[in-house]
Amino acid sequence: MATIALLAPLNFVDSLLLKFFSEQTVNYVIWPFIQVGAVVTITALWVAYATYLERKISAFIQARLGPMRVGPWGLLQPIADGLKLLVKEDFIPENADRWVFFVAPYIAVVAAFIVMAVVPFGPDWAVITDVNIGVLFVLAVSSVGVLATILAGWSSNSKYALLGALRSSAQMVSYEVSMGLAIIGALMFARTLSLSGIVAAQASDSIWFLLYQPIGFVIFLISGIAENNRAPFDLPEAESELVAGFHTEYSGFRWSLFFMAEYAAMVVVTAVATTLYLGGWYFPFVYRLTEANGYHNAYVVVSLIVFLTKAGLLLYLYFWLRWTLPRFRYDQLMDLGWKWMLPAALVNIVVSAIAVFVLQALDGWHGIHTIESLSQGLNLTAAGKGIAIAIGVANLFLTAAILSMINWRSRDFNLKKQRSKIRLVDLPKGKPAVAPVNPADVVSEARP
């Protein structure tokens, strides 16, 4: 296989490093640095080309071509853009709070990129570090991004920026709640907080948690989009209302840092969603075809590609939504967060808990075998999977019913009934104005 030939140098480098350094240095210092470098580079490139893809996809949605001039099909456009932003004047408004204004973009970028440390891009060497509280780490670090937004809005000393920052802080905080709660359902099935462990739990079950947790996935994704401030929830930077929102006063490279942070945060949310609900790097048959035959590095690389493909598809969903939907209003966004997402997340927790309880209670009852072992996650048998999926699907209806009960009085619930129909009227025709008019009729009084 071609991938094996490509990865042969990897083992060669390893043996080369071992000649100069001790094994501990190589394993715990040098390789991690190489990994971090690779991940940061790849993520940065991914972010850059995500902007390219966004422009291309939006162009195809809008019956255009998108960037075509720089390089073939405009492939070098992100690099040209980056260079342009890099050499622009670093401008700080006179009345801005200089230091806070200076620091805010870096907080945004660091908060977005640092999450990459725990994301399992693949098995073995494709993950930088596997923290046993990975999910908590992701939630904690990504919420630091709010700080950058608030600081940027406040320090700009501009009303538009301030309004944008206020909106985004309210938005991010309220959606983080439902996002965190939505994850809990998946964690009950995974029985671990480690992101690699969650993937392993899905791999050992040979199933994606999406099937157990359809509601959880939807809530996670919607909250993720809202937390990233992407359309249709892009209120903080709603360009038609608040010009550019919290980064109105930013320009040049500092602005591009915010831009990178936005895309990196998107990449993070898609990566975490993939890990939690779409089985991460797990894909059927990959293990059997590669690792089982002794091709370890090929296994890692194929898994890596699987992961990137899944995350990429979710990223496409982001773009698709952005270029299709109008924008929510601020109060409607809060309604959606607190009246729809939060109750749905709570219902999801209860139902997931019941599902796990039922699976454990049914195990061995009347000869129904639901759980194989509790080694990695809930190791369910076919019957167990069927029950879990059935409860997940039932949860869809249950959540819909409960949400309707909560919201049936609200304005947005029966919106389609409130709107009116226009009627077409054929008015009687009046006296035509076009027929030549006798000038004598027209003249009313002589003016000077």
């Binding site: 939006s58 009116s420 035509p432 027209v442």
Partner: protein
Amino acid sequence: MTLNMGPQHPSTHGVLRVILKLDGETVIDLDCDIGYLHRGMEKIAENRMYAMIAPYWDRLDYIAAVSNGLVWVETVEQMMGLDVPRRAHYLRTILTELNRIASHLLWLGTHALDIGAVTVLLWAFREREEILKIFERQFGARLTCHAWRIGGMPNDAYDDFEADVRRFIGNISGRLGEYETVLSENRIWLSRTVGIGVISGEEAIAIGLSGPSLRGSGVAWDVRKSRPYAAYADMDFDVPLGENGDTYDRYLVRMEEMRQSRRIIQQAIDNLPDGPVNAKVPKLIKPPVGDYYHSIEGPKGEIGCYLVSDGTQQPWRVRVRPPCFINLQALKRLSIGHLVADVVAIIGTLDIVLGEIDR
């Protein structure tokens, strides 16, 4: 908090400055500052000969230059009692209706853009481009066309005119359906427009609204019907009327107006008479002493022209009835109590063009 929106703001549709007094994000007071684009059109017109004024009228509402030009030439023609040939009237009808579609498409795109649906803008511009191409071939210009001459048209329709127009009206219905699938049933669109900026019919009349903004409130008033000009007396079309007078109604009314415009164009192109396109016009255009008011149904409302002649080659006084200027007066009434995001939607729904407001 006082928020200064504009004149350099992405969604005030030009150089409109809106001074918002906010409580949180709720608008408690609003003030419009206009005049950034003032060129003194009406005063300029007093020092130009009648035929020279027409190009200035294109720069009033530059989105609907063809309609604006029409009100000027028709006012002068009627004052002078010129007998404009039927073919010219039919061509005027077709081209002003095309202009109405172009103007409504631009409104649709920018209105949707203000509410956040970016894609509709590009789609609407795709169709508008077709119309502008027809204008370019017919008048030699895309935006400020200088479309008419007093007494008729500068030249007859170009050779493929009929084919181009037929192709355009063949496409437009399906394309309008596409826009409606993106917007009309969209929950977010509904929640942003239904019940936003409600104005009753009586209030709309009191403010002096006209055009789709008035018909959105359910008032049956259309100059094309009540005092037909050009060839509208021969045309068979319906006037769409709203019910609640909210932003969604005005959206639906404009969408339906585009369909009705298509119907009018279809009839006009089917019955396009042959013959000359120019009346016999005297060398010196000197309307008789007196005053005259003529108005037409522009895309944004009733465009009127009040002309006082002292019998010389230059008008003594010209006054434009500007639909956008008068529609803009409803902004304060519609916006108070809504959020900042709604102000943007309401500016969009009033469909203003600053070139005409400032004149």
